[in-house]
Amino acid sequence: MAILIDNDTKVICQGFTGKQASYHMERAIAYGTKVVGGVVPGKGGRRHLGLPVFDRVAEAVEATGATASAVFVPPAAAADAIIEAIDAELPLVVCVTERIPVLDMVRVKHRLEGSGTRLIGPNSQGILSPGRCKIGVMPAHLERSGKVGIASRSASLTSEVIEQISAQRLGQSTAIGIGGDPVHGLGFVDCLELFFQDPDTDCVVLLGEIGGSDEEEAASYLKANRSRKPVVAYVAGVHAPTERRMGHAGTVNVFGQGGAAEKIEALRAAGVTVATSAAEIGQTVRQALRAA
């Protein structure tokens, strides 16, 4: 089992015919993901990668029964693409696009409220459930089917941790990239709730970084939920200079909040096992599972 996606998830891709989208959707199909079509305004009626292309998301949903969308639309049009998917009542939208203006995401966030759509991203590497489904740009490489859930703010670090967990002969139930942007859809708390409800997840790994308050919110949530599955966390950026954007727009500190030390302290206080070294996250997960 997995959260949010499974063998039956039917995926469409917005911005389907672009170079990046084509590359990754081809890999998703090869992985076994049920990709059922794409949406590119003005290109409706064509076929791409052997699949139908539609002008509008609603048309694509009606024709294919899609339940999820992968958004690869360029930054200037990405927010409207997400909103179109929300309006079409797609249950899951995964936005890979990076560099979307933050005020556009404020608009998206408002439209998400009260809708039935869950948004992953933007600036997300996507979501992967080993052997079942893959939406986004996450490499399929060393993942193994198993019982560790991962929620991460960073793409390449997720791959690193998947490798470390697999090297421990453990596997992943689902890995979710919540994205590196300041305003995003699903947060750590949402992922924790879903993983705690999932009978096939035994342990959750949170991969955080400086900036924002996702880690602190996760800590308050976990503090109030003491009897639960073990949670392991890692927070990148302990030695990063403050007030600088370190690659992700979400890493800038405002008012000295969002420092790695504060996040680690909050997580520890909530009973989370925090891995202090990026090289030892896999081992830490193994130990946490043993202790549980």
Binding site: Q20, Y23, P75, A76, R99, I100, P101, V102, L103, D104, M105, V106, R107, K109, H110, Q125, V137, M138, P139, S152, R153, S154, A155, S156, L157, S159, E160, E163, G180, P182, V183, G187, E209, I210, G212, S213, D214, E217, Y234, A236, G237, V238, H239, A240, P241, E243, R245, M246, G247, H248, A249, G250, T251, V254, F255, G256, S277, A278, A279, E280
Partner: protein, 391 residues
């Protein structure tokens, strides 16, 4: 994109936020002329650099004659100003802003930003602002007031008035505060700002409000729809290497150590820098290769590492996948080594898509490189290599 105070004030004035009359100048003579043209009896002379806490570092000087304005400007211009936010090297002062001095009966803090957890624009304020606001906020967070702006309806007049009342403002000052809040919200929206901070917002003895200092950051990701604002970027104030890196689809931040670091992905790069520090290494930089980087951009990035004379060893940590493949990085490194020569030990950890191919490419190109299997091993190897070079 950070704006200078003078740019931020000019923009904010357009949205009806009152600021003192001022002029930006780059010589002492111009400063004297500016003071005379502005009129008044006293002036503030303020260094225009991208760093807060200028006050603490002597970057803001008061003058009560035009000659004194010239002296203050002369003392600041051409100096490197070191504030708690500039790093040890400080920032070169190339421009000063001369403005009419305004006396404050009380200094208020008022800012607009995006509350990330709510995903909404919020106004943040405190009754008492000033340059030590961050410390006082940390000590007494409850003194910070917040008003979230409704994304559908915007800032409501009544809510703004209540908020102003909580800041201890009444009568004409309260009405003026509402106008200022509306102006800030409109500016935030129209300019695609990510921060507008007025600190302090002075309540003068005659009961009116004036923005004494303004900090404004615009959203880099939205500059595509603000061609007129993109020109405000002060490239001379950026670290030259960082500026160059921006052109190569690299995120680069200069650090002070001797281990050159190149990683794909921001999170893995942060984690790698942390790991080096834990193992006794001193990173020379934070370099995150963006996923769409080409072979040539990787080569240019690697040349930046080689061009830093302090670099004694280089660590490349790549987790291939997504869009960036390890072989693209290997080809870039090989090209840079061919043109520049590799003068320091190079440790490569290449995992994920085409990792094996990357190792083959570097070997075939005759690049002297040591391979690490894991990130921990890579960190140990490069730290040892840099230590040896330094000894």
């Amino acid at each position: 994109m950070n704006l200078h105070e003078y740019q931020a004030k000019e923009l904010l004035s357009r949205f009806g936020v009152p600021c003192p009359k001022g002029k930006v100048v780059s010589t002492a003579e111009q400063a004297v002329a500016a003071a005379e043209a502005l009129g008044g009896a006293s002036w503030a002379v303020k260094a225009q650099i991208h760093a807060g806490r200028r006050h603490d570092a002597g970057g803001v000087r008061m003058a009560s004659s035009s000659e004194a304005v010239g002296t203050a400007a002369g003392a600041l211009l051409g100096q490197r100003l070191v504030t708690p936010q500039t790093g040890a090297r400080g920032k070169l002062v190339r421009k000063v802003y001369v403005e009419q001095a305004v006396g404050a009966a009380r200094e208020i803090y008022l800012a607009a930003l995006v509350d990330r957890s709510l995903g909404r624009v919020s106004l943040i304020a405190a009754k008492h602002g000033g340059s030590d606001i961050e410390d006082r906020m940390a000590a007494a967070p409850e003194a910070m007031l917040q008003l979230t702006v409704d994304p559908a309806t915007g800032l409501a007049e009544g809510t703004a008035a209540e908020f102003a009342a909580r800041l201890g403002l009444d009568g004409a000052a309260r009405a003026q505060a509402v106008e200022i809040m509306k102006g800030i919200c409109k500016a935030f929206h129209d300019l695609d700002a990510s921060l507008i901070e007025i600190n302090p917002l002075a309540l003068t003895n005659d009961g009116s409000l004036t923005a004494l200092d303004v900090k404004m950051i615009l959203d880099d990701n939205a500059l595509f729809r603000h061609q007129d604002l993109a020109v405000l970027r002060d490239e001379e104030d950026l670290d030259p290497t960082e500026l160059e890196a921006q052109r190569f689809a690299l995120n680069y931040v200069h650090l002070d150590g001797n281990i050159g670091v190149m990683v794909n992905g921001a999170g893995l790069a942060l984690a790698t820098v942390d790991l080096l520090k834990q193992r006794g290494g001193e990173p020379a930089d934070f370099m995150d290769i963006r996923p769409e980087a080409t072979r040539n951009q990787v080569a240019d990035g690697f040349r930046l590492l080689l061009g830093n004379p302090k670099v004694a060893a280089i660590l490349v940590n790549i987790y291939g996948g997504g869009i960036l493949r390890c072989d693209t990085v290997a080809e870039g490194i090989a090209a840079a080594c061919k043109s520049e020569g590799l003068r320091v030990p190079l440790i490569l950890r290449a995992a994920g898509t085409n990792g094996e191919l990357a190792r083959k490419i570097l070997k075939a190109q005759g690049v002297r490189v040591s391979f690490a299997d894991t990130v921990g091993q890579a960190a140990d190897m490069v730290t040892a290599a840099a230590g040896k070079e330094a000894a």
